[in-house]
Amino acid sequence: MAAAAARWNHVWVGTDTGILKGVNLQRKQAANFTPSGQPRREEAVSALCWGAGGETQILVGCADGTVKHFSTEEGRFQGQRHCSGGEGIFRGLAQVDGTLITCVDSGILRVWHDNDKEASSDPLLELRVGPGVCRMRQDPVRHHMVATGGKENALKVWDLQGSEEPVFRAKNVRNDWLDLRVPIWDQDIQFLPESQKLVTCTGYHQVRVYDPASPQRRPVLEATYGEYPLTAMTLTPGGNSVIVGNTHGQLAEIDLRQGRLLVCLKGLAGSVRGLQCHPSKPLLASCGLDRVLRVHRIRNPRGLDHKVYLKSQLNCLLLSGRDNWEDEPQEPQEPNKVPSEDTETDELWASLEAAAKRKLPDLEQSQGALQTRQRKKKRPGSTSS
């Protein structure tokens, strides 16, 4: 059952104990999926990304250097490949054209063949990005471009089909008012849609916009928020603002046109580890060290929609970008529902049986609607698995 329903989960969360959790917000259920049936801390999930073929596969990067394939259709782990080399956990995972791109903490970026047969083969391409990488992100439009950044590791944009040198290498800002060098700590990177620009958020509570198309290598825009390191960032639908989260659990939406703070979202109590906005709906999913997954609504009206306690510290999340938030078509539900409802409604409809043959489909649909309406009344609520 859990396996069959796995495709309808709205959010997939990776935890510190190696469990991949699928959360269905409509039905308020959370399911645990582990590759070996037992949680193991060595398999702590550090990176998640969608696999090939829409949202049917998830690539799970674990702390022991393996990337596991999880199928949402079947609800189980299918295969894994050991992406060895380099120390540190995965900081970025991406896939393009049947190849897998991985980047680890020590700065080794590798492109692997995604075939199971060649599981132990050498990487197709290896790049040294510089030590202390905090994030590697793939351009959602041009899949062969990746950006990397980290602690004392400035933002670099690489073209995997091009040369071994980065296409764009960012320059540090000028010395501050005391003439001291401003330290660099890029924690998260996003590519802005419809342009070549990139946004980064830093551990020194700055949000910076870079434009490789312009001659200047320094950031085009810089905004600061709060006093704590910003750990996660996501773009809002609309593309004019970003939402950042810091180690204190404060979430803020920052406008990129003017560089000012728009709104703060409240509710989180621990450091924000993962943030993602839905591409079209005004929904924001956030997860962090306080072991709770929260889904906020960022526009009219702003507030918390769902809160799910998930028992382990959450490291990263994937929000399903599909438009149809309602799950499952009616068919699989009906055989379960009809027998239980038959007894209740038998007496009612017995008298109308003569004309009931045409009415039965309406009955089931209306009852289905009633059920969903009843379910909706329970929102906002919280679930536990």
Binding site: G249, K266, S271, L289, K311, Q313
Partner: protein
């Protein structure tokens, strides 16, 4: 006389206490409320037309008088109701319905989904492999470093000394203006397992930072109500070198479990029951009360306790993952008063 008539008419409420005052009051009452009744004498309740409340009387003295009469009346009614209920209970004897339980804030606590279920495997695995696993697997034994903020005053110094007698295998060091981030690597190299820093403000200790050492969480507490040994009445003799037992009360939620385990990992695993000493960390409504007692069993069921050592109250402000790094560390839980303290019935530990 009109006055007499009014007097008797206006005394709708119980008994006349002060005739002079009441006379004036009645006149005023009659003057103010034209429709005030004359045939009111027989009825003792609601002498005034509906919609009239005591607060509408402008004169403070008269208003106060009317209010105090109303209060006395209420008290009498309440007492009468209680007596009646008691009589009914006695009359029914065994068949009396059980007494209703009074509502307290602890009873009415909002359901917290993070309360740990003892059968939960995921949480059990999480706890079995967290930073305290090596302590709970008996692989390491605690060694504590106690220090203060810079230039401590007398109370704080004495509290540190007393704490070091309470916590076995602990050492007090003077903080010579050293940065915690520099002390911590030195502690780790000298095999210390925990670091306690007592923060002082205006000559009294008011904060406690408890950092589990190799890479464990750091908890920051507000400390209040600190009583040193000589301030504790009817206390016993000083604690001996025996290892005390520990009692952790009421740490039910997941956060509470983490904090409880932090406290447990301060004390060695093998309590010496010969010493009859016990340290209690009692959590109630998010305040953690620390007490240190010596107990003695006077008979099968009677226990006597003597309070020894220092006594203080803690409230968790933040729990940070990793050793002390308040600027760049990641927080597992931060107390945010404006967001978390909105309900009087919601607690986090």
């Amino acid at each position: 006389m009109a006055k007499a008539g009014e007097k008797s008419g206006g005394s709708g409420n119980k008994g006349l206490k002060r005739k002079a005052a009441t006379e004036e009051r009645q006149e005023a009452a009659v003057a103010e409320h034209g429709t005030t009744e004359s045939g009111v004498q027989p009825s003792k309740a609601a002498a005034f037309p509906p919609g009239f409340s005591v607060s509408e009387i402008k004169n403070k003295q008269r208003r106060h008088l009317m209010f105090s009469r109303w209060k006395q009346q209420q008290r009498k009614e309440k007492l009468a109701a209680k007596k009646k209920l008691k009589k009914e209970r006695e009359a029914l004897g065994d068949k009396a319905p059980p007494k209703p339980i009074p509502k307290t804030i602890d009873n009415q606590r909002v359901y917290d989904e993070t309360i740990v279920d003892p059968n939960d495997e995921e949480v059990a695995y999480d706890e079995a492999t967290d930073e305290f696993a090596s302590y709970f697997n008996r692989q390491t034994s605690p060694k504590i470093l106690i220090t203060t903020s810079d230039r401590p005053h007398g109370r704080t110094v004495r509290l540190c000394e007393q704490l070091s007698t309470v916590i076995p295998n602990s050492h007090v060091y003077y903080r010579r203006g050293l940065a915690l981030k520099k002390i911590i690597p030195q502690c780790i190299s000298r095999d210390f397992t925990d670091l306690i820093v007592i923060n002082e403000d205006r000559k009294i200790p008011n904060g406690l930072i408890l950092s589990h050492l190799p890479n464990g969480p750091t908890a920051h507490f507000k400390m209040s109500s600190v009583h040193l040994r000589k301030e504790i009445k009817r206390r016993g003799k000083d604690p001996t070198e025996h290892i005390p037992e520990i009692i952790l009360n009421n740490f039910t939620t997941r956060l509470g479990h983490s904090v409880g385990r932090m406290f447990a990992s301060l004390f060695p695993h093998n309590p010496q029951f010969i010493g009859r000493q016990v340290a209690t960390f009692h959590n109630q409504r998010d305040y953690i009360f620390f007490r240190f007692h010596r107990y003695i069993f006077k008979s099968e069921k009677k226990v006597g306790i003597q309070e020894l050592g220092p006594r203080f109250t803690l409230k968790l402000r933040s729990l940070q993952k990793g050793t002390f790094d308040s600027k760049y560390g990641e927080y597992e839980w931060v107390h945010k008063p404006r967001e978390m303290d909105t309900s009087r019935r919601k607690f986090h530990l």
